[in-house]
Symmetry: C2
DNA sequence: CAATGTATTTTACAAATGTCAAAACGAAAA
DNA sequence: TTTTCGTTTTGACATTTGTAAAATACATTG
């Protein structure tokens, strides 16, 4: 009976022992010394085993998403904006200064990761965006298989010095969900409108874009139109182009496309050269999980909410309060 | 906006804070002191919050079932007995004396609880037996919703001084899976054959028994025919009746019914007075998770395996070794 | 057989956690 | 306003865990 008899099970005898040790510690509540005694090894060996369990995902520690959506702020956001659910992350209370952006984003990402598990159901086709926020969510995801799920990359490939390549988010989330993954084999933005149109007509890409027209779930964030927006940092748009878009009414940037305060697309450069899901196709998804960090994104968040572009909202406390205080 | 606007969410603002604290501790890896500082509370308050999270299932700590099925013993059992999966629990290594039954059962129950989450799929109809072993499994289950699952009690109601009422296991497992639950509103054993037949014909009970004929998953254990069997302890059969059954070839007791070494039913008292799933209907289930503790149940385990009454086996190490050493 | 590399054990110590009793605090009721 | 009750804080201490260096053990290689 060769080891590769069950090629789908990549674990071995030692791994099974690790799993048993994890059950004794986390499940039975034995101390490391008690376990070491039972297994006739030293306590540091047990420490190493438990660390390996956590590091490799043999043990997963999950927080109930439903509880995360239960706060007063969450309920008020649901009532105010007609959402199915709202998740508000809190990482600091009181004090005279608010949390740093990194600290807040880290906790928001964890909350959103739990929200993903709440929102995604067996059989779903899930579109995943790309950006610093979505990348953090992907990093925070535990391994939780969901049956028959397909994950699709919604924005063409792009490399930024701030975030890894855009297919990375989709692949990572697909791995956590044990899902099939369809990446979008095209740059997010082309050099000319004609070239972008040609690429969209390529059968493999056309098929993938067609898939993005009938998503069950879409997971995305929204960017600012501030001068430090990712679009400029990634060389996709110039400062002047973004300024022109703002003048024309752009309130936020959604999957590389501008939207105005009512959630309608603003068709200005580089929109015609972009290869990504259309705003209206996002709006058509049954469940839309939008993750937004920071009070500075209030206007962009309002564009999302006014444009019915979210069914499930995940924000930090500062943005939640700002959304509730806004007219 | 009244609190009962979302009646399906029974949690509140404080619960949401607990969940956030849990994410900071288990997810971010902050110490209790760091969290206390951030939230402007005392460290014992954080200790209490984390304990409440664990106690109420706001936090769940899970071990990957696939890893538990990866040991050498598991692979050998799969190969030897043609199983889909085998889970072997280990709670003690080496030493000159084996683990106590209670210690072994506790760990086996935890392993089996993880196995349940591996085996049950969305849309499944799941039959659940009753007994000390299955009760322990139910107690060890984490809260893990699985879509559209129906849980059915397979053995009529019975109260024992050793285990709670038999519908308890089914209800508890149903709650963990967020499943519908159908209990079997009849005693497990009646005083006469005619009365049992009449009860089986009652529409509600007949419907429930009919449901048990087409199970996707069945979860059960098997009992011994020793004098200390539950059947005698519960007053269902006398010592003489059990002895007669053994003389007639009974090797084990499965859902209150005798089976011989080939897994065939042995139709002796109190079989005709029993209200429970039929052995052949168990055999017909697509996935059969059988949980057996103790080397003393070798013969009963062999009856199960010979009779194709298990697709997924969950045993402790002593029984695993005994099964592999048997002819 | 000796040398080498890897893993575990031993030992120690700092940090974190668990637990608890007494005191303090704040809200609600009388 | 006072009393009562529940919760939290304070302070302390025992236990457990995390971490690390040195020693030991064992398997592999030349």
């Amino acid at each position: 009976m060769a080891r590769d008899e069950a090629p789908s099970n990549p674990f071995n005898d030692k791994d099974a022992l690790l799993a048993n040790v994890a059950l004794l510690y986390y499940g039975e509540g034995l101390t490391q010394s008690e376990i070491a005694k039972r297994l006739s090894v030293s306590r540091p060996t047990i420490v190493n085993m438990l660390r390996e369990c956590r590091d490799r995902g043999i043990v997963e520690i999950r927080v109930d998403g439903e509880v995360l959506a239960a706060s007063a702020l969450s309920r008020q956001l649901v009532a105010r904006y007609g959402l199915e659910d709202a998740y508000v992350s809190r990482c600091r209370i009181g004090g005279d200064k608010p949390p740093a952006r990194g600290e807040s984003l880290a906790q928001l990402a964890r909350v959103a990761a739990m929200a993903v598990l709440d929102v995604v159901r067996p059989g779903d086709t899930v579109g995943v965006a790309w950006g610093e926020t979505i990348k953090s969510v992907a990093d925070a995801m535990p391994r939780q298989p969901v049956e028959d799920v397909t994950v699709c990359q919604m924005i063409g490939s792009m490399v930024s010095d701030r975030v890894a390549a855009s297919e990375d988010c989709a692949i990572r989330i697909a791995n956590c969900l044990n899902a099939s993954c369809y990446t979008l084999h095209a740059p997010a933005v082309l050099s000319s409108r004609d070239l972008a149109a040609s690429l969209r007509s390529e059968p493999t890409i056309a098929k993938q874009l067609e898939r993005l027209q009938r998503l069950d779930v879409a997971i995305y964030s929204i960017g600012n139109t501030d001068p430090d927006t990712h679009l400029i940092a990634a060389g996709i748009a110039t400062k002047d182009q973004v300024a022109d878009a703002v003048d024309a009414g752009a309130a936020g940037i959604l999957c590389c496309r501008y939207i105005d305060l009512n959630g309608n697309p603003v068709d200005l450069p580089p929109n015609e050269r972009v290869v990504a899901v259309e705003v209206d196709h996002l709006r058509a998804a049954k469940r839309k999980l939008v993750v937004i960090a920071g009070q500075d994104r209030l206007r962009a968040a309002q564009a999302i909410l006014n444009g019915k572009l979210a069914t499930h909202l995940c924000v930090d406390e500062a943005l939640a309060v700002a959304l509730l205080q806004a007219d």
